[in-house]
């Protein structure tokens, strides 16, 4: 069964149609890269799936309509890593990762042994266990990004959505994070990440969905989606595109001439 | 604005000091007199010859503040503003020492004779102010008659001996009359002992509810004025602890108009209090 199925999803923000009748499904094991120029609707679409934006049409998680699932139950199926990385209170790393266990806690409950186990596993996976007691204000940008991913992992959901998780990361952290997301997909999770890093997306994602002006322009294997023609029409750039040692290399070279 | 006037009058009494006894006897008799203070209003109403007094303050016509409200009705009412008083073209203005300093200064600069009266803070002050009003208005005979009437009224209403009972005044916002106030003299004259003065309060001061409770006065005095509309100032009278005290002691309601200023009506206040004290169990 599909983990996630969107059917004719339409989103209006004010009077503007931001997402126009989009349909796609995500199966276990898929690592979907959600790409498209700024303003294409990537963030809005991800927020709608996580319940942050009202929509028309159907979004089904494991066959159940998203809006009919109680918020805590949905949080056990789907974790979301928003673009916003502002952590307002200076709590410790392990407490922050522990927030991922919120859906499983009673109002006054503290973390039980299975929760602590999930927190430990997530920290180990993101290689942050060494500074588990450090306050978040003392983390570097890369460390903070890893801690936030660990929080989403601690949620132990079959679906993981991430909004530009690699933004602002240096190449090493960027690469490491893409590898981890790909690894999660290999383990049978469904992962959707929006990104502007097309080269990494082409290398690590099993599938790319290209959004432009609220519509799906292309959906398929990375090599099929990323073409020079689409780089020109959708992103407005001429690009150098090649396959080197089995990996896609993509480098925008110049702005495309305006059509007409 | 009644209780505000009442309150300010209380404050005046609290701050009061006796006026110096230097009178301007060389001046011609005033023909057009304007009084701009509730206490001088009432003395002037009682002492001035017919036609001599032109205007009194608007408070003099307010039945809650003034014991002579009916008598004041025929006169022009002023609000203590320099402009309105100047236009009345008075040859004598009578003011209280604590009212409208700026008005008084201005009127003097304009060449108008202004006489000031300190508030009454004892029966003796009242007697002196009556005499002084007579001299200023050139009506010594009327003043002497009023003084004699005052003396006999006080003598008639005074308690013959101390009852040994204690009385405490308790006004809105928990104010009380301590030592050196006219009310203190009234309490003494009625044969009672002023609880607030005994506790060391002087002038008009806040009396904490728990101190009032602890002092357990035999008589509780308030003005029993029904407020025109609600305010927190009156909540001290609905406090359960106060109600308990009021239920277990004698209550004397003395209208504010008898105690704000001194005059023959001061005797009414003494009588009311003496009667209440007699009813109080010892």
């Amino acid at each position: 069964m599909n983990l996630l199925a969107l059917d004719n999803v339409h989103i209006k923000l004010g009077s503007r149609d931001v997402i126009k009748d989009i349909s796609f499904t995500v199966a276990p094991g898929e690592f979907v890269g959600l790409i498209g120029p700024n303003g294409a609707g990537k963030s809005t679409l991800l927020r709608a799936i996580t319940g942050g934006v009202p929509y028309s049409g159907f979004i089904k998680i494991k066959g159940s309509e998203c809006q009919n699932i109680a918020a805590p139950a949905r949080a056990m199926e789907l974790a979301f890593l928003p673009q916003e990385r502002d952590i307002v209170w200076n709590i410790s790393v392990e407490e922050l990762v522990g927030l991922g266990r919120s859906p499983y806690l009673t109002p006054f409950g503290s973390l039980r042994s299975n929760d602590l186990h999930a927190v430990d596993a997530a920290m180990k996976r993101m290689d942050i266990a060494a500074f588990r007691t450090r306050p978040v204000s003392e983390l570097s940008g890369g460390e903070k990004a890893r801690v936030l991913v660990a929080r989403a992992l601690a949620q132990e959901t079959p679906l993981l959505l991430a909004d530009e998780p690699t933004a602002g990361l240096d190449p090493a952290h960027n690469l490491a994070l893409m590898q981890i997301l790909a690894g999660l997909a290999e383990e049978g999770k469904g992962v959707i990440a929006s990104t502007h890093d097309l080269g990494f997306a082409a290398t690590y994602c099993t599938r790319l969905i290209l959004l432009d002006q609220g519509r799906i322009v292309a959906d398929g294997k990375p090599q099929e989606v990323l073409t020079k023609e689409r780089m020109r029409t959708v992103y407005g750039v001429e690009a150098y595109l090649a396959t080197v040692e089995g990996r896609t290399v993509l480098q925008p070279t110049s702005l495309a001439a305006k059509p007409g | 604005m009644r209780a505000a006037a009442w309150l300010s009058a209380i404050m005046m009494v609290a701050l009061g000091v006796s006026a110096p006894g230097t009178y301007a006897q060389d001046k011609p008799q005033a023909r057009r007199v304007v009084s701009m203070n509730l206490c001088t209003d009432q003395l002037a109403l009682l002492i001035a010859a017919p036609g001599q007094l032109h205007s009194v303050s608007w408070l003099a016509a307010d039945p809650q503040s003034s014991a002579l409200a009916d008598e004041a009705r025929g006169f022009a009412l002023n609000h203590g503003l320099a402009e309105e008083i100047f236009l009345m073209q008075p040859d004598l203005v009578i003011a209280g020492t604590y009212t409208a300093r700026s008005t008084v200064e201005l009127l003097r600069k304009l060449g108008i004779r202004v006489e000031e009266f300190a508030p009454d803070s004892s029966l003796e002050d009242i007697r002196q102010n009556i005499a002084r009003m007579g001299e200023i208005l050139g009506q010594q005979q009327r003043a002497d008659a009023l003084g004699a009437a005052f003396d006999s009224a006080i003598a008639n209403s005074k308690a013959t001996k101390l009852s040994g009972k204690q009385a405490a005044t308790y006004y809105p916002n928990s104010y009380t009359s301590g030592a050196g106030t006219l009310v203190d003299s009234i309490i003494s004259a009625s044969g009672l002992e002023n609880t607030a003065a005994k506790l060391g309060f002087s002038g008009t001061a806040k009396l904490p509810l728990e101190v009032l409770l602890l002092s357990a006065p035999d008589v509780v005095i308030n003005d029993r004025e029904q407020p025109a509309s609600p305010a927190l100032a009156h909540e001290n009278f609905t406090h359960p602890a106060y109600r308990h005290l009021a239920a277990n002691s004698a209550n004397a309601a003395i209208p504010a108009k008898y105690t704000i200023c001194g005059g023959p009506f001061t005797a009414d206040a003494i009588r009311l209090l003496r009667d209440a004290a007699e009813k109080a169990p010892l």
Binding site: W89 | P230, H239
Partner: protein, 333 residues
């Protein structure tokens, strides 16, 4: 697990301090009663004067100090967590001033004479309007500055309307009572006031006290909190109603007491490891300590002057607020 131990220690210390201040509040007053006599009179069923003073004058004062302080501390912690704004506080964002306005309208029109419950209800309505207004003005992602500016506008307007309502009252004492409504006092409040406010305060506490888990999730922002299973609309509703009920009732019987909800959460946050859920009980106890202490001090410093509580809390709170603005100015800009 060191934060847990520190949290327990902090709570215990605050609990003991609250108890000590509560007892002090019961034993400090213009009537010089000995500690033993006053505590004994508190439980005495004799109707003597000391029992009357303890049970009808000092007990309500101490109880109101305790509950109102706890309300202000708790609501400050909740508002800061909900709005993700270290400067949020019932006083600063206009809730107290609007609750005062509601209470003033109910009292001075005489409605409370026939229907006493109108007092907390009207204050609740005033507080509710303020929270909703500030929230609407600030929007879902309101910046720290927007919320404070909205609060300034709401506060000034409510203060002006309170003054107008008092001026319009035919009772001459009314206009002098603006001090009480703007700065707050517990002098000579009675058990009547306590019983009038207590149900609203209790309901408010229940609503605010159960928000800990949601506020923890909100540390990561609204979107992350929503994805963690937090129903944002329900949480906001619960926080708004809980704040309006408890702060409204507190203000209705004691006037607006500022800065408690600002200072206390800030002082205690590092002691409880910054986690909002742990801050809630600590701030409630801390707020109770601050208001009890202020109310003891007004009785010691100038017993005859009836100093207002808000004077003392502002002496501590306003410089603290300036310091916070200084510390936060990078985020404000």
């Amino acid at each position: 697990m060191r934060p847990h131990i520190r949290y327990r220690l902090t709570l215990s210390a605050l609990g003991i301090l609250t108890l000590v201040l509560f007892l002090l509040s019961l034993t400090v007053g213009p009537a010089a009663l000995t500690f033993r006599a006053s505590i004994a009179a508190l439980f005495s069923d004799k109707a003597d004067v000391i029992a009357l003073i303890m049970q009808e004058v000092r007990l309500p004062r101490a109880l109101l100090g305790l509950t109102i302080g706890a309300t202000l501390g708790l609501s400050g912690a909740v508002l800061q967590g909900l709005l993700r704004n270290p400067l949020a506080e019932p006083g600063l964002i206009g809730i107290s001033a609007s609750a005062s306005l509601g209470a003033v309208i109910a009292i001075y029109t005489g409605i409370t004479l026939v229907f006493p419950l109108a007092l907390p209800l009207s204050a609740f309505a005033g507080a509710l309007v303020a929270v909703l207004l500030v929230q609407a003005l600030a929007g879902a992602r309101g910046s720290i500055l927007t919320i404070i500016l909205a609060g300034v506008a709401v506060s000034s307007f409510a203060g002006a309307m309170t003054s107008l309502a008092l001026n319009l009252s035919p009772n001459p004492f009314a206009s002098l009572e603006i001090m009480f409504w703007m700065l707050g006092s517990l002098t000579d409040r009675s058990m009547l006031h306590f019983w009038l406010a207590a149900p609203f305060i209790l309901v408010g506490w229940l609503m605010l006290g159960t928000l800990g888990k949601a506020l923890n999730a909100l540390t990561l922002g609204n979107d992350a909190a929503a994805s963690l299973g937090i129903d944002m609309r329900r949480i906001q509703m619960q926080a708004v109603l809980g704040t309006a009920a408890s702060v409204g009732a507190a203000t209705a019987v004691a006037g607006a007491i500022g800065f408690v909800g600002l200072v206390i959460p800030h002082l205690l946050r590092p002691l409880v490891g910054n986690l909002p859920s742990r801050l809630l009980p600590a701030s409630a106890l801390g707020g109770a300590c601050m208001v009890l202490a202020a109310d003891i001090l007004v009785r010691i410093i100038a017993p005859e002057r009836d100093l207002k509580l808000g004077v003392l809390t502002a002496i501590v709170g306003a410089p603290f607020f300036l310091w916070l603005v200084h510390a936060e100015r990078r985020r404000l800009a």
